[in-house]
Amino acid sequence: MDMNVTPHPALEDAVNRRLLQAVERGLPLVLQPYAHIGKQLGIGEDEVIARLQSLQEQGIIKRMGVVVRHRALGYRANGMVVWDVADDNVGATGCRLGAMPFVTLCYRRPRRLPDWPYNLFTMIHGRDRLQVLARVDQLLHSGGMQGCAHQVLFSQRCFKQNGARYTTLDTPREASS
């Protein structure tokens, strides 16, 4: 993959950039949110909708909907499970694990030898540690991960959690909240 990430062509469009900036922290909770945003940007409601539709089709928006906070709902335990998977097998393994209902993220990342040998990252939320560990067991025994070197990194303290803000960083800096 290209590590010198070049902006997606859709983002060279100034209106799209301003639109993402306007919505990345959430739609306003008013009856006509798209009209509200359109007014801010000086475009029509239908144009806001069409642009969001297109950004979603192009994969820049991954999903649109309610974003929940797991912890507030009682999902207290969060284990990042890291695996050392043979390079020629990582794609198939990643697709398999990413489709498990309790896996909430599944990414391939580079190894950094000798310090860091793991190349596949999965996130598992649970009500407590035992539930997370039971799910890791399930991956080991029925998810085809038997014998695969892995570690479970439980989260302890959260020092900061914000939605990612890609678009505001190239305009004047703001302190994040």
């Binding site: 993959m1 590590m3 010198n4 990430v5 902006p7 997606h8 993402l20 919505v23 990345e24 959430g26 739609l27 909770l29 949110p33 798209y34 909708i49 969001l52 979603q56 994969g59 820049i60 928006i61 991954k62 999903r63 649109m64 909907g65 309610v66 974003v67 929940v68 906070r69 797991h70 507030a72 709902l73 990042m80 990582v90 794609g91 990643g94 697709c95 694990l97 990413g98 489709a99 896996v103 909430t104 990414y107 391939r108 990342r109 580079p110 860091w116 990252f121 990194l153 302890q156 303290r157 959260c158 020092f159 959690q161 939605g163 990612a164 803000r165 890609y166 960083l169 190239d170 800096r173």
Partner: protein, 156 residues
């Protein structure tokens, strides 16, 4: 972080479960949700406001795909335990850092850095390295295997 899990009504549960993706792209999106839930449009908006104030809903809107817009990476440092909080505060200072967690591991501080481009990202990592005196693991996402349909909540 120690608030007990909220007791949610069946309607609130459905609102959280069924609308994490496919949010209506039409002029009155909450009206369309209201029809599916059998409540009024204003009740949908009020319930979402309530859930947001209670900290259950972070926001309603788009989840952007990492790396399609700018550059981002997952980074980690192994902070000596006596310095962990100081290092964590140093890392959280950067507006480019949006998640910062302590995890149980030799690498005990994990954070996500997001920037408009890889050069900017590299500067932030170098700065953290210089100020903390710690090596920073830089683990950018290479491939995403997860189809994000939101989080399947299990109420039982």
């Amino acid at each position: 972080m120690n608030t007990p899990a909220l007791a949610l009504t069946p309607t609130e549960q459905r609102l959280l479960d069924e609308f994490q993706h496919g949010f209506p792209l039409e002029p009155r999106p909450y009206a369309s949700i209201a029809r599916q839930l059998g409540i009024s449009e204003t009740a949908v908006v009020e319930t979402l406001r309530h859930l947001q104030a209670a900290g259950v809903v972070s926001r309603v809107g788009p989840v952007l795909h990492p790396n399609r817009i700018g550059a981002s990476t997952l980074a980690a440092v192994a902070a000596p335990s006596a310095r962990l909080e100081t290092i964590a505060a140093l890392v959280s200072e950067y507006p480019e850092v949006n998640h910062n967690y302590q995890r149980e591991h030799h690498y005990n501080l994990w954070f996500v850095v997001t920037a408009p481009d890889r050069a900017h990202l590299g500067e932030v990592l170098a700065d953290i390295r210089a100020r903390s005196g710690l090596e920073v693991l830089d683990l950018p996402m290479l491939e995403d295997y997860f189809i994000d349909l939101g989080f399947r909540l299990q109420w039982t």
